[in-house]
Amino acid sequence: MTVDDRFGQDYRETLEERSHGARNEIITGPVSDWATDFSHAEPEWAADPYPIQDELRERCPIAHTERFGGGWLPTRYEDVAAIAYDTEHFSSRAIIMSNFRPPPEMAPVGASPPISSDPPFHHHARKLLLPAFTKSAVAKREAATRAFCHTLIDELEGQDVVDAARDYAQHIPMRVIAEMLGFPPEDGARFRVFIENALEGVNLPPEERLARAQKLFDYLLTQIRDHIDHPRDDLTTYLINAELGGHKLDPSHVAGTMALLLIAGIDTTWSAIGASLWHLAKTPADRARLVAEPELLPTAMEEFLRAYAPVTMARLVKEDMHWRGGDMKADDWILLSFPAANRDPAQFERAGEVVIDREVNRHVAFGLGIHRCVGSHLARMELRVALEVWLARIPDFSLADPAAVTWAAGQVRGPRTLPIRIG
């Protein structure tokens, strides 16, 4: 056996390269006009972005901002779809709209393939992951996920008010992805810190954000080395051994994909479970109907994903161009709001309402085109099982204190504090 020496000095050097990017002036504080000065990092957006998006769709469907070094926010389904499909003019080199743009040389691979990759590389990086995430592959995890949900509910016993985001929703995707990657399940609390660093606080100084990302990559390196010494049947060993075009993957590709799976796998699903429970806690008629008709849950779940789509992506404009009325400059951000597209009345009837038996629901919560969420089948399984178990065990519940509910700020949105009365 040859020693795998990819995870020594090379690993450090590629991380170092990532810090060579463009920085811009950080602008924070109240938004003066959402059409010309939007920011997804302000508390008003986190608390309730939908009225802002609905108003923009009417008044200025491709809004602009000078913040974050310049960016655009389309709110019509049609425009969001066109950008998701147009990888020739819009790059995924960066997908978190912040005050730092990674260097152009990072394309077409990017820091966390495949989400940060452009064609033609993207296809190969994505193909590596697909088999582990098909509907039948993730079905094998359903029984263990269900048992884990029951354990979490058992632990709520004896309390009148519980925090459904902190004590239930968050743990489910953490446990599942830790198992798939082969990480110790008790590291969950550390994952939460990594996620907050990656996805929230986008207006912190880039140096601070890079230093925090370093901690995640140090953690991943420990896991990678442990897997090199003790190979296992999990995604980490799979990625260490995987080959593209006859070569093992670059060390930064291995670590970047692991970081992606850890972060994309947890925060998103946690948000979807939390938002669904929040809706049911504040809408007794929908809750009662789902308790009485559990077979409606798969349909209702798609509606929760539409109405409370947790994930917004970003793109970078490749070259200066005039696009649908906007003078876009190279490296301008596009804040690609799948949530706004999902509430466009031109695409959905009663777009602003939650209709739990909606039969025609071509929502885009998992994106469109080549970057369609690799984890969508896994996320759907987790969301369905989490809601089934909760509704079966705790059919009667309500919001304990609507004003105490808090929502994550940034591009992944869901409840982070969710006090629910269960007793």
Partner: protein
Amino acid sequence: MKVRISSERCQGHGRCYDLAPDLFGEDDEGYGQVVGEGVVPPDKERAAGLAVSNCPERAIEIL
């Protein structure tokens, strides 16, 4: 009635095989496939319609 999936457009969202498992299946990467020749028996026409109208990529055609 027959159904067909455009493999150019399909991205493997799997709404078709969720909603109409008798008519559609997944390949080993999760892309949708029609079962057999794609012939839709009369009692599956409603399910076929649901798959068409829920595919986010508009990849399913009714022939």
